[in-house]
């Protein structure tokens, strides 16, 4: 079982990502967080194989979340994928510099998103 945490404040985007991930196979289990705070609360509750995060969110943003995960010993090995629009080019760079493994630009094709997840999980 692979637990994947999707952190994204847009509900329809979140549920779309959930569907795309679940299409990958039954062993993928998606947990959703609608805000950065929710993500902070859910992190200790489960063992995650992957965190996918948006950048622009209301309470704490994706950069702050990446920094938190990558500086916390028990989470730092969980790979992270940044999902953001081309507007957040600069933030994407910052996220990668803080240790995120990959990024994908919105909008994306479902196959590309799935490919990215497989790639990050297999490396």
């Amino acid at each position: 079982m692979k637990n994947i945490l999707v952190v994204e404040d847009s509900e329809s985007t979140r549920s779309m990502m959930k569907t795309i991930i679940e299409d990958l196979g039954e062993e993928y289990h998606v947990f959703e967080a609608g805000t950065g705070f929710e993500a902070l609360k859910i992190l200790p509750a489960e063992d995650f194989s992957l965190i996918i995060t948006d950048i622009n969110m209301p309470d704490i943003n994706g950069i702050e979340l990446i920094n938190f995960v990558k500086t916390t010993p028990q989470y730092k090995d969980i790979p992270m994928i940044i999902v953001s629009t081309e507007r957040s080019e600069e933030d994407k760079k910052r996220g990668l510099a803080l240790g995120a493994e990959a990024y994908i630009t919105k909008p994306f094709r479902p196959e590309d998103f799935q490919e990215k997840i497989r790639l990050v999980l297999s490396s």
Binding site: D9, S10, E11, S12, T13, S15, M16, T19, G36, F37, L40, K41, P44, I55, N56, P58, D59, I60, N61, G62, I63, E64, L65, N67, F68, T71, T72, P73, Q74, Y75, T85, R87, S88, E90, D91, R94, A97, L98, K106, P107, F108
Partner: protein, 657 residues
């Protein structure tokens, strides 16, 4: 239109509505002036709209929101000033987006090229891009690297405006950090601008989480310390007073002074208090006996003083523990709001939720007990109360339905109301169903209030009938049972096509209740005071008989009356004379649901701890539990609600006695 598309449309509508509200705020700023928060929130709404439009393949919507986003980005970065021109330009474009969205809902993706050109021209005209100064050397590189681009811009703007930059470190409990954190950030926002909220786990104990709050303010560190309750460390900006040389304060000391306690531990304390109350009763008895033996001697006065003191302190302690258990009902309302939002979207009936009285407090346990019943009522309201947008339009109602949640305190109770502006409960359908079920006969005279009461009967309604047509019924008996189990009751008011309102009257706290002890024959019973409205002494022959049912003339109203033991032992009072023995009436209920219970003696008030009857007697109707009243004397606590119900039914002749 498939469901995810529907979901998209409704989220997009919400985003545009949000954007419009933010724009209104910009147009008429509060006293504090235009806040960066509002501009940023506006940016985020359009940014999210662009994101989801792209995902759902709506190119026109995506391109236009992208162009507007560019303008908003310049606005939040300070490259464009907020002027009336800019605001009306944005209003115009949000209207265009709304139009596009409407078309998208009908499957059309319009060409947006002309609009895009307009925006580009506008952008060139207003933009006034400034050269960015480097922040390195002013602010620690390690801090800049964890800021988002926007946050860095805000940092820059604040330094340029001659404000100092501060950091506060907070260590909070992981389980509920959001509440204490937002309290702190609200305070910070009053003193300046919050730039970044950085979570950290470094050097933080387990079950806790740390936050670095980076903010800008024009105030000096001392007044900030006074306003925030914690001394911030200054890391950059003007006023290089003594504070500037200091390293950011990095105390591990928590800024929050709250502890979290398992509710079971509080239950434990309450139980101990309950036991102590019994001991106090024993001491009082000993005091009386001593007085009988020794008269009013010094020793008796001593024990009297001590026991009075014990009594006072005990009730203080009890009050304090009960206060600890209190939570604002807003916690539950916000959970319900989420359900309403999600559920109404799921089934395609847009609903406005309005909430009043979130600050009303009630016991944590009771709060948890009413969540499910409320959820049930609210879901029912969306399912069957609120009409579809088309039907509402036909009826001349706003297409969006409204559900109101309201809470307020009345005496020792909290009233929680849900009201929808849907089609109301169809009493004719209920009448038909009641006839079918044989609950009433064709000749039974019965008013609407009583008919509506039937929805709370177990197994009264089935999906094929009442629910689908009139909209109510499924599981309402469960709602009522849950509310009765915490000594509350449910009332429904409805008007066809106007509203349906459920009022739950529930005790604020449960653990220890005030009760009235009464004697009936050789038995003593306890009646919870919360369900009693008054007691009366009656003279002989004060009761009248109508069709064999006892009634009492209470200030001009006929009050249905029954001997308490009649309920438990039907037929035990077969002789008229028995009714003449009883000297007191305990009145319970209110309005049309008022009834009288006949008892032989009012013994007095007492605080009791209700214990459950245990598994063996679980199904026993009419008893709320047992309680101990000193000297190992165990008595039954009467469930007044059930009794009231029974009396009303018997007096209507609806149930065969």
């Amino acid at each position: 239109m498939n469901s995810s598309k529907k979901e998209f449309i409704s989220e997009a509508e919400e985003l545009l509505e949000e954007a419009r509200e933010h724009l209104l705020e910009l147009q008429e700023p509060a006293e504090t002036g235009v806040t960066p928060d509002t501009v940023n929130a506006l940016f985020r709404s359009i940014h999210t709209l662009k994101g989801i439009s792209g995902l759902f393949g709506l190119e026109g919507l995506k391109d236009l929101s992208h162009a507007i986003e560019e303008i908003l980005d310049s606005l939040r970065l300070g490259n464009i000033e907020v002027t009336d021109d800019v605001i009306s330009f944005l209003f115009k474009n949000i209207d265009i987006l709304r139009e596009l969205l409407k078309n998208a809902g009908q499957g059309n993706d319009l060409d947006v090229t002309p609009y895009l050109e307009d925006i580009e021209v506008f952008g060139r005209k207003t933009s006034n891009r400034q050269k960015q100064e480097s922040l390195s050397g002013i602010i620690d590189e390690a801090i800049i690297s964890v800021l988002s681009n926007y946050e860095e811009q805000r940092l820059r703007a604040n330094i340029k405006n001659n404000r100092a930059i501060f950091i506060i470190n907070a260590v909070l409990s992981l389980a509920d950090f959001d509440k204490s954190l937002s309290e702190l950030t609200e305070k910070i926002k009053k003193e300046g601008e919050l730039i970044s909220t950085l979570p950290t786990a470094e050097d933080i104990p387990p079950d806790s989480i740390g936050f670095k709050l980076l903010f800008a303010s024009g105030k000096n560190p001392d007044s900030l310390k006074a306003a925030l309750g914690v001394a911030p460390g200054q890391i950059a900006g003007r006023r290089p007073e003594k504070a500037s040389a200091q390293k950011p304060q990095s105390s591990l000391k928590s800024i929050s002074t709250t502890v979290r306690v398992d509710i079971e531990k509080l239950d434990g304390i309450l139980n101990t208090i309950g036991e102590l109350t019994l001991t106090r009763g024993a001491i009082k008895r000993i005091e009386r006996e001593l007085a009988g033996i020794y008269g009013h001697s010094e020793l008796v006065f001593d024990i009297h003083r001590a026991s009075r003191n014990l009594e006072r302190r005990l009730s203080e302690l009890q009050q304090q523990v009960l206060e600890i258990r209190m939570v604002p009902i807003g916690q539950i309302f916000s959970r319900l709001a989420q359900i309403v939002k999600r559920y109404s979207r799921e089934i395609g009936k847009p609903v406005n939720l309005t909430v009043f009285g979130e600050e009303t407090e009630l016991d944590k346990f009771i709060a948890e007990e009413i969540v499910d019943p409320l959820m049930h009522i609210v879901r029912n309201a969306i399912d069957h109360g609120i009409e579809s947008p088309e039907e509402r339009k036909r009826k001349g109602k706003p297409e969006k339905g409204t559900i109101m949640l309201k809470a307020f305190q009345r005496g020792n109770n909290v009233i929680v109301e849900t009201e929808d502006d849907g089609r109301g409960i169809d009493t004719e359908m209920i009448r038909k169903k009641a006839l079918e079920k044989g609950i009433i006969t064709a000749g039974t005279e019965i008013d609407d209030t009583e008919l509506i009461g039937f929805i709370f009967r177990a197994g009264f309604s089935t999906k094929e009938t009442v629910t689908e047509v009139s909209g109510r019924g499924v599981g309402m008996d469960v709602v009522k049972d849950r509310i009765s189990s915490i000594h509350g009751f449910v009332d429904v008011r409805t008007e066809k096509n106007i509203y349906t309102r459920f009022s739950l009257t529930i005790p604020i706290t449960l653990a220890i209740i005030k009760s009235l002890l009464v004697r009936v024959g050789i038995n003593t019973f306890a009646l919870p005071l919360s369900s009693i409205s008054e007691t009366l002494i009656i003279g002989r022959d004060a009761l009248q008989s109508i069709e064999g049912k006892k009634v009492y003339n209470l200030r001009g109203d006929l009050l249905p009356v029954m001997q308490v033991s009649d309920f438990f032992e039907p037929g035990s009072h077969t002789h008229e004379s028995d009714y003449h023995e009883s000297r007191y009436i305990v009145v319970s209920g209110y309005g049309e649901r008022r009834v009288g219970l006949l008892v032989d003696e009012l013994i007095g008030g007492q605080e009791i701890v209700i214990r459950s009857l245990g598994r063996y007697f679980e199904g026993l109707k009419g008893f709320a539990g047992v309680t101990e009243i000193g000297r190992h004397n165990v008595i039954l606590v009467i469930d007044v609600e059930t009794l009231t119900e029974e009396i009303l039914l018997r007096h209507k002749g609806l149930v065969h006695v």
